[in-house]
């Protein structure tokens, strides 16, 4: 069994590409089978037929279905993602998305890293004290956190902060522009951090608990293995065993879970951004749903899927690199 990194990488890349093509097709079909005429939804009853026709033409909805499909696929690759219905007249979607995307990437990136680091530490400490009071309280808390929906956390945080820190910013990604532009760079950073604090705190807590539970159970499994006993017999200190022998093995399943977790994070950002009016991709999807802005919704949905697919791809590669048992 030749284990060549390159072969594996290429194979996975081809799979990724095929999946993306499939997703695009799925996305195309999904928005074509919906009941009713999307153009009708957009305009009041009295709109002139010319306006309707013009928009129909602009959106490419007057072409035969197959042509539409080809146009859509080609457009997706050449950067023509269509125009938004509502979001200021006829703005190309690719012009709308970037600032929103940056905010979501910031939120979910920081959130994921924090969740992983804190979750692993949390799980490790619980597993190391298995059966003791710390572990019992710790894992109960983790289970509770794991089963509380993310958006409820956000609501509780808001109530707590309104009560205890009345001046704390609770919506938006920064202060209003008129204030924000007058601040110096440090104040701006502090402002951004202040605004991001609560969203990130609500975003990570569920995945943090999830990671902690997985690390805990996986570490407890590893700690019963024979080689841990051997290490103990060699006279290694407890913490050294944990660091050198147990943790590297216990973290393997975590890598796979991180990839799956990206899906949760994506879903989480939708809720969190909606609650905190944090203008990222999730907030955009809410606006798109509210305004029946189907092209925009389609694009946002596509982006979210791509994020998850790429995360899965990276996890596969990482897993291959870390775990010699993975077959090609």
């Amino acid at each position: 069994m030749a284990r060549s990194m390159r072969g594996y990488f290429l194979r996975k890349l081809v799979y990724l590409f095929i999946t993306i093509l499939l997703i695009m097709t799925f996305n195309f079909i999904l928005f074509r089978v919906m009941p009713g005429d999307p153009i009708r939804l957009l305009f009041p009853r009295g709109a002139s037929p010319e306006t309707l026709e013009e928009w129909r033409h602009l959106l490419g909805l007057d072409a035969p279905l197959f042509d539409q499909y080809i146009n859509y696929m080609v457009g997706m690759f050449t950067g023509d993602w269509g125009v938004s219905f509502k979001f200021s007249q006829r703005t190309p979607i690719l012009d709308i998305i970037p600032p929103f995307l940056m905010k979501t990437l910031f939120l979910s990136g920081v959130g994921t890293v924090l969740a992983i680091v804190l979750g692993v530490i949390y799980g490790r400490e619980c597993a190391w004290r298995k059966g003791k009071l710390f572990d019992r309280i710790g894992s109960t808390v983790a289970v509770v956190f794991y089963s509380v929906p993310t958006f409820l956390f956000a609501l509780f945080y808001i109530m707590l902060f309104v009560y205890f820190f009345p001046g704390w910013p609770l919506s938006g990604a920064t202060s209003p522009d008129t204030y924000f532009s007058q601040m110096n760079i440090f104040e701006q950073i502090i402002d951004i951090a202040q605004h991001a604090f609560l969203p990130i705190m609500s975003l990570i807590i569920e995945s943090l608990a999830g990671f902690a539970l997985i690390v805990r159970s996986s570490l407890i499994d590893v700690l019963t293995e024979d080689y841990i006993l051997t290490a103990e017999a060699k006279g290694l200190e407890g913490r050294d065993i944990l660091k050198k022998h147990a943790m590297p093995n216990a973290l393997l399943p975590v890598v796979a879970v991180i990839a799956l977790n990206v899906g949760w994070i994506v879903g989480g950002t939708v809720m969190i951004e909606y609650i905190f009016t944090y203008k990222g991709i999730g907030y955009l999807s809410w606006e798109a749903v509210l305004g029946y802005d189907y092209p925009l919704l389609q694009a946002v949905f596509f982006l979210e899927i791509i994020a998850v697919l790429v995360a899965n791809f990276i996890a596969d590669i990482l897993n291959f690199y870390l775990d010699p048992r993975v077959k090609i």
């Binding site: 997703i23 009941p35 089963s147 929906p149 609501l155 509780f156 899906g263 946002v300 949905f301």
Partner: protein, 442 residues
């Protein structure tokens, strides 16, 4: 003598349960803001038709001697019953709607479907009891033969169930979660009948339109438009539970069928179905649900359907893996050598072995479904006419209840959701530990 009394008690219990569930289901219609008379009338009509159909089936069965053809006829008749029941209830609801009330087609279909399902159960019950009553020697013999194997099986199942229950009741956390579930279920069933006010009728309050904190008259206070929060809470329990159970059921059914077919038939089936499963596994659930609900429209049934259709993939994987290992067992080979059909093997040998896995998974699925429903409602994609806990939170968020610290409006639905999800998780987890003992050593 004592034995027969015992059996009777059980029967009474079962009937009571069925009646309770019927009321629960009819309640949907009520919560649905349609007129109660419509559902009552169609229920009555369906009830009569169901019994008539059941009688007919029983009569036809009793005139047939051949075992196989009997079964076929029974099956056909049952399907016919189902169709008649759906059609009949649809017809009667339509008739009722002609008398002045406009009923949406969507509502109509769903109410009819639920009624039909209820009637289906009634048909079967009628049929079975009729078969027992009809005095013909042949039928009695047959019924006894069926009855014996069946009672043997039931005894076995009861024994198994008893064992699981004993183990379950020793788990303190599991039992706590179970009690919470029972309490919430009771609230869901009787809640709307004990609710002091209608959740959607404002209480006239000349002093202010602002939410009022809990008082003697309104236990949980009132919301922005002076609705009673306690009443909304009671109504919401029913919606959350029903959506969770039905969506979980849909998801379980799809997942199980896909897993069984992919695992058992293998090859092309496996390839195609598993790619489909991977596809659904990869797509982030919430965005997909948002997109689907946005496209299909905002109603309770769309929400149930969407949650069900999005969340089946993990079940399919689990079931497929189990089927793959069971398929290789010797007794499957023997059964096939004896000429058993694929359907028979799946039904008799594979499904019962996969079943324990499914039970635990399904309970976890229900928890997921409740979570999803709360989220969709909160996001403003739920049915605007159905009171649910997510709907309460959405309205609270809309009116900035958090910023104004109207905690009595936010806490009840939040605590309800958390308790419901957590107890489903814990019960599922405990059952998983008992039924799939590989996990025990942890």
């Amino acid at each position: 003598m004592a034995k027969s009394v015992k059996v009777d008690q059980k029967k009474v219990l079962i009937h009571l349960l069925i009646v309770a569930f019927l009321f629960l289901f009819i309640g949907i219609g009520e919560t649905y803001n349609t007129s109660l008379k419509v559902s009552e009338l169609s229920l009555l009509a369906g009830f009569i038709m169901g019994i008539a159909a059941g009688l007919m089936t029983a009569a036809i069965i009793s005139f047939l001697s051949d075992d196989a053809s009997q079964r076929k006829i029974a099956l056909v008749m049952l399907i016919a019953n189902l169709v008649t029941a759906i059609g009949g209830s649809l017809f009667f609801i339509l008739l009722a709607s002609l008398s002045g009330r406009a009923v949406e087609l969507n509502t109509l279909l769903s109410t009819a479907l639920i009624l039909a399902l209820a009637l289906y159960v009634i048909c079967i019950l009628t049929m079975v009891s009729i078969v027992k009553i009809v005095g013909e020697q042949r039928v009695r013999k047959l019924a006894m033969a069926i009855g014996e194997t069946r009672s043997e099986k039931i005894k076995l199942a009861a024994k198994q169930l008893n064992k699981v229950w004993t183990q379950f009741s020793q788990n303190r956390i599991g039992m706590f979660a179970f009690y919470v579930l029972v309490i919430i279920t009771i609230i869901a069933i009787i809640g709307p009948s004990i609710a002091p006010e209608d959740p959607l009728t404002p209480i006239t309050n000349p002093e202010s339109q602002l939410p009022m904190p809990p008082s003697e008259k309104h236990w949980f206070g009132t919301d922005f438009e002076s609705h009673d929060v306690w009443a909304q809470f009671l109504y919401g329990a029913r919606t959350s539970l029903i959506v969770g159970l039905l969506a979980g059921l849909i998801s379980l059914a799809i997942g199980t069928v896909v897993g069984l077919v992919a695992g058992y038939f293998g090859r092309a089936w496996d390839e195609v179905l598993m790619r489909l499963t991977d596809f659904f596994l990869v797509i982030p659930w919430f965005p997909l649900m948002i997109v689907l609900v946005a496209i299909l429209g905002r109603s309770l049934w769309v929400v149930i359907f969407v949650i069900g259709i999005v969340s089946w993939s993990p079940t399919a994987r689990v079931v497929r893996a189990a089927v793959l290992s069971i398929k290789e067992k010797m007794y499957i080979e023997r059964s096939r050598a004896l000429g058993a059909s694929n359907f028979h093997i799946i039904q008799r040998h594979i499904f019962p072995n996969v079943f324990p896995l499914i039970v635990a998974t399904s309970i976890l699925l229900v928890a997921e479904a409740i979570f999803s429903e709360a989220f969709l409602d909160f996001f403003g994609l739920g049915d605007p006419n159905v009171v649910s806990w997510g709907w309460m939170l959405e309205r609270a968020h809309d009116k900035s209840a958090m910023l104004n610290l109207w905690w009595w409006w936010i806490l009840p639905p939040s605590v309800g959701i958390i308790l419901l999800i957590m107890s489903f998780y814990l019960v599922g987890d405990t059952l998983d530990e008992i039924l799939n003992p590989r996990l025990k050593r942890r």
